[in-house]
Point group: C2
Chain length 261, copies 2
């Protein structure tokens, strides 16, 4: 079993509820569990409850930091339609709500209609010609960098103590243990990289994250494009695109964050 | 009382519930009530329940078409924090859930922190030098065009029966009755224009809409920038920016839609 699947395993607790364990293996900047990891637990719970296989749109509100230890997921189905099913998952720890997520699921393999894409995958050198962000190891305290591998043409300024002043980034990502990407994992992966706001010298606390899953990813590396264009009085968005190894857009997300303080 | 405020008026029904009437004055393409109008009812309900004055992030899932007639709003508070309060509103008609919205509210006047904007307001001629999209009248059946005024340098191709092939648009918008824009109205305004996908000859059904309110708008016209960049097997996003008359970004949204069929 992959690390992702082991650490997002759910135990049915009846009435659409599930028990889970938040491990310390996906910790991100700030020290707590990565928001994308907590979101992945919500996605797993909804995938059990809703009939269609693929999350299509998911919006999560982060109410409190997640802590290592037990968690309860409560789910509820809002509507099961012919093409789309929508439900809600709440992640609780010690009876406190940590994440509230609403999601619509569909069968992306059955999606049909016109295609017209006015954008292109990041123009990155192949992963073998890129630098490993963590030099083959991991960043101290950031256990999420033991789970994901990041490859890029140049190391981010913030990792060198020299923020670049440009809040954007393009890089490759994959699970270190070789787990193939799929539509269940994509919603978490859009939050698996450090905020590009670090290139302006700021950190970020996520208020809300919306992910649109746009396709089933082919096996292999995922190419990411991230940017923040509007930082206003400490409030900012981060836009994230994921393109698969065949050059197809498979996920698009935006999160709203606050600069702490 | 403005048309917007009259048509989003709520009657308290106890336990965080409110009664409302969905009027036929905000009908959009497809014939039913505009999604932004239904969202505005949810925003009004949450504004009553949550202490901070401004919606900051709101995500709405559209489960069924809205119908003219009575509606019930049910609200629930997820968390009331020092800086942010989060709640949920469900809009029901005949006991069927039509919209589920989760929102975080804050006090945008108290937001503080760094500012760094890497984008600019649409470069539009002044409204007086633009064309009125509806020629001073309204588009047949689209009663929403009686509520909003749209000004643009050139008329959209789709209104002339000649889709331009370019799924993007920039234009001015304001309430026809002179109501000033505010943070309560902005979440609905991001959905007040016809989908730019019409410029590719397609219509759209909204699955999910996320709005980030980024500032309190100054009085006057609002400048909008809309685009769809990824139409894949009938699934597409629409990105919407609203800039106020002082050239400041005041709202940013993305919706996920399906081409019907």
């Amino acid at each position: 079993v992959s690390e992702f699947d082991a650490d997002t395993r759910l135990e049915p607790a009846g009435d659409g509820a599930y028990d889970a364990t938040v491990t310390d293996r996906w910790n991100a900047l700030g020290g707590g569990a990565n928001g994308g990891y907590l979101l992945a637990l919500c996605v797993q719970a909804l995938a059990r409850e809703l009939a269609p296989p693929d999350p299509l749109a998911i919006s999560a509100f982060f109410l409190r930091p997640g802590a290592t230890g037990p968690a309860r997921l409560r789910t509820e189905t809002a509507r099961s339609g012919r093409r789309i099913a929508t439900g809600e998952a709440r992640l609780l720890q010690d009876d406190n709500e940590v994440v509230r997520a609403v999601a619509s699921f569909t069968d992306l393999a059955a999606a049909h209609g016109p295609t017209d894409v006015r954008n292109a995958a990041p123009d990155l050198p192949p992963p073998e010609a890129c630098l490993d962000m963590t030099g083959g190891g991991s960043l101290p305290g950031l256990t999420i960098t033991d789970r994901f591998e990041y490859r890029m043409p140049q190391l981010p300024g913030w990792t060198q103590g020299k923020p670049s002043g440009e809040p954007r980034s393009e890089f490759w990502i994959r699970f270190k243990d070789g787990r193939a990407p799929d539509t269940i994992a994509l919603p978490g992966i859009v939050d698996a990289a450090a905020p590009v706001l670090l290139e302006l010298g700021h950190t970020s606390i996520t208020v809300e994250l919306t992910v649109h899953v746009r396709g089933r990813p082919a096996p292999g590396w995922l190419a990411c494009r991230v940017s923040t264009r509007h930082l206003i009085d400490g409030v900012h968005e981060e836009d994230f695109e994921i393109w698969d190894s065949q050059g197809r857009l498979v996920a698009q997300s935006r999160q709203l964050g606050l600069v702490p303080g």
